[in-house]
């Protein structure tokens, strides 16, 4: 059974959507779903008071409306599909283990935070901390795929341990900060400090990068790089680091867009 939830009114305060996952809703009768309680600010509200609920064929959960004040859509979900027709708020797909989430608008900060499986697609932009860990923890995204068609903010993949974050657009600063493993692909420009304090994994930048951190070592030039089964065309300057963390992560920087980094060529042993 699929569901369409349409926001009945605009949200004034944060709305905690964490109980609304396909796993949690599946098999429940409609009247029970109506009576599910959600935290709306500091009061509990009935789902039926905030959303108009419609049953449809298929198995998807579709949510319509401006949910930019929502939190935790798809929290810990294991299976099933969620589609958000609009903006989706903070913590979309937090601790997600499987299934699929599609956001047609923008997603707020902490998209896919602590994710271990599943797939998230955002048609618009995402905020800061895509695929990150929680404060103080080293357990960032471990698995799964996040795909963002627009831009993302700062600290993409903070403490990431695995999985793939693919961003068609640009990002802010510090993509891959403290990264342990996994792959971050950035189709557009990066505002700086890529791969800061990383110990492993790959950050690939197709657009402009103002500088490479001084704690990275120039490694080589590569014609292309593989991401899953896709071959990404470069050529790329490849840097290794973050040496300050004894790291062996790799930073791929598109040569064509970054002629100001050409100074590193003299440090390369062989050019492919």
């Amino acid at each position: 059974m699929g569901l369409i939830l349409k926001l009945k009114r605009s949200l004034r305060v944060p709305l905690d959507m964490s109980p609304l996952t396909p796993d949690n809703l599946n098999g429940r009768p409609l009247d029970e779903i109506y009576r599910l309680e959600l935290w709306e600010g500091n009061r509990k509200t009935l789902l039926g008071d905030i959303f108009k609920i419609e049953e449809v064929d298929g198995g998807d959960l579709t949510i319509e409306g401006d949910l930019s004040k929502a939190r935790r859509i798809g929290y810990m979900m294991k299976s099933g599909r969620i589609k958000v027709e609009g903006d989706a708020g903070l913590y979309v797909g937090e601790a997600m283990r499987g299934g699929e989430i599609t956001v047609e608008g923008d997603a707020g900060a902490w998209l896919g935070s602590r994710m271990s499986g599943g797939k998230i697609t955002v048609e618009g932009d995402a905020g800061d901390f895509v695929g990150s860990s929680y404060r103080g923890s080293r357990e960032g995204m471990k698995g799964g795929v996040i795909k963002i068609k627009g831009d993302a903010g700062d600290e993409v993949g903070c403490w990431m341990r695995g999985g793939l974050i693919w961003i068609d657009g640009g990002v802010g600063c510090f993509p891959g900060i403290h990264m342990v493993d996994g792959v971050i692909f950035i189709g557009g420009d990066c505002q700086g400090r890529a791969g800061a304090e990383m110990t492993g994994g790959k950050v690939i930048i197709q657009g402009y990068l103002p500088t490479v951190l001084p704690s990275f070592r120039t490694s080589e030039v590569r014609g292309k790089v593989k991401v899953d089964d896709t071959s990404i065309q470069g050529p790329f300057y490849v840097f290794e680091g973050d040496l300050n963390e004894g790291g062996s992560g790799k930073l791929f920087v598109n040569i064509g867009k970054n002629s100001h980094i050409a100074w590193c060529e003299r440090l390369i042993g062989e050019v492919e």
Binding site: W39, Y91, A109, R135, E155, F174, L213, N244
Partner: protein, 429 residues
């Protein structure tokens, strides 16, 4: 009447050696006080004398009872109230504030989130190798000020705690080396043995290069953030070669591009240095009890600021549960402001958001925030008219004294907040 050992309540130095002369309930003079301190002690700005309530669009005088009732009503009805300020009041008041947030199911946030929050966020990831100020006074032979200009912002810092202080093992300026890192040659930089001018917003790169140099890595680039590599290596050498180094950082580091990651890098640098020598790092906190606000909030809720109690338990995530972000997203529907003036200090767009919601302000003065509030309650000035516990920038607790009586009928933060809490508990059940 002379009162000695007075604790100053202006900046994070919390100097406690002030000698104040009082006559007829007025402070006549103060010795050992810097200009900032004297300004506060002899502040003759117009005071709020009566509680006020907004009626028909205008603030009118009201009784304390009326004001408290209205305030309690506004806060209790709110679905996501914000309790803001807290760093210019005492621990005892902050403690009540946290309970208020808990009872109301609101968010309690303090000035840290717009100032030194990045430093605390850095601590979550890295930890911090620190010490009290006396360790620096007694042992340090190398002092670094980064993005901080104590000559102006913390006037007695250098004389009491660092390069000009007299400790057991370091007795004079000659025994210390001073390094200043800043974007321009400040008055503090003029006193330095080594001044490093960093390109604005280039601190993270510079810290990264310093870390590499300290680890003995060769730097590939010739210049980082506008600083020639030779200078970076010189600074690294001085840092490794000292017997005890101390790095003080200010808003130049917390508020420039990178924010919490700038501090992350500074904390990591100091941690790395401890494998070569002894090194400590301290934040140059601006407000005299922002440290106390952090500490009290932490022991009661587990978290130092931006604590969201709306779902019945403490939840923390700066960027989500912090004032500026909540206001920016337009999610907050009422605010309590204690000893702070966000309307004057927040970015314009955020202040506009503030104007959309009912605000209760507790302040000694008619601040910009008071002007746009629904309820205003005058309070006594902490450390002058009201006593209380405060924590210095290094976490050392001190007891601020009451020196003079507050204006008639003006109560302390603790008294007002206690009354407010009582009413709110009844309304919220």
């Amino acid at each position: 009447m002379e009162v000695r050992d007075v604790v100053c309540t202006v900046c994070g130095c919390c100097c406690d050696d002030l000698i104040v002369e009082i006559e007829d309930n007025h402070i006549k003079s103060a010795r050992n006080a810097c200009t900032l301190s004297t300004s506060k002690l002899m502040d003759h700005r117009e005071r709020l004398e009566s509680p006020m309530i907004r009626e028909g669009g205008i603030l009118r005088d009201a009784s304390l009872e009326e004001a408290l009732d209205r305030a309690a009503q506004i806060l209790s009805e709110a679905r996501y109230p914000l309790l803001w300020g807290w760093s210019l009041t005492c621990n005892e008041a902050v403690s009540i504030g946290v309970e208020l947030a808990e009872v109301l199911g609101g968010v309690i946030d303090n000035n840290t989130s717009i100032c030194h929050g990045p430093g605390l966020i850095g601590v979550h990831d890295i930890g911090i190798s620190s010490s009290t100020l006396g360790e620096v006074k007694n042992r340090a032979d190398l002092i670094v000020y980064w993005g901080s200009n104590p000559v102006h912002a913390h006037p007695r810092h250098m004389a009491r705690y660092t390069v000009m202080s007299r400790g057991r093992f370091r007795r004079s300026r000659r025994e210390r080396t001073l390094i200043v890192v800043d974007v321009r040659r400040t008055d503090t930089a003029r006193l330095a043995d080594l001044f490093i001018q960093v390109k604005p917003n280039g601190d993270y790169e510079l810290l990264s290069a310093l870390r590499a140099a300290v680890k003995g890595e060769e730097l590939e680039q010739e210049e980082v953030a506008g600083v020639p590599v030779a200078e970076i290596e010189r600074m690294a050498e001085l840092m490794i070669g000292c017997e005890f180094g101390a790095l003080f950082y200010g808003v130049g580091l917390t508020m420039s591009r990178g924010k919490s990651r700038n501090i992350d890098a500074a904390l990591s640098l100091v941690r790395d240095l401890n494998s070569r020598t002894k090194f400590t790092i301290l934040p140059m906190r601006g407000h005299f009890n922002v440290t106390g606000a952090n500490e009290v909030t932490t022991w009661l809720s587990g978290y130092p600021f931006g604590v969201d109690y709306s779902r019945g338990y403490p939840y923390y995530n700066p960027g989500d549960t912090t004032a500026i972000d909540i206001l920016r997203r337009g999610e907050c529907d009422a605010a309590l402001v204690v000893a702070s003036d966000p309307a004057a200090h927040f970015p314009a767009g955020i202040t506009r958001r503030l104007m959309e919601i009912p605000i209760i302000t507790l302040d000694p003065y008619r601040s910009a925030t008071a002007e746009i509030s629904e309820v205003v309650i005058p309070t006594a000035v902490l450390g002058v008219e009201a006593p209380g516990t405060i924590y210095r920038m290094d976490g050392v607790p001190l007891e601020a004294k009451r020196l003079v009586e507050p204006p008639e009928d003006v109560k302390t933060d603790v008294e007002i907040l206690s009354s407010l809490l009582e009413r709110v508990k009844i309304l919220r059940g």
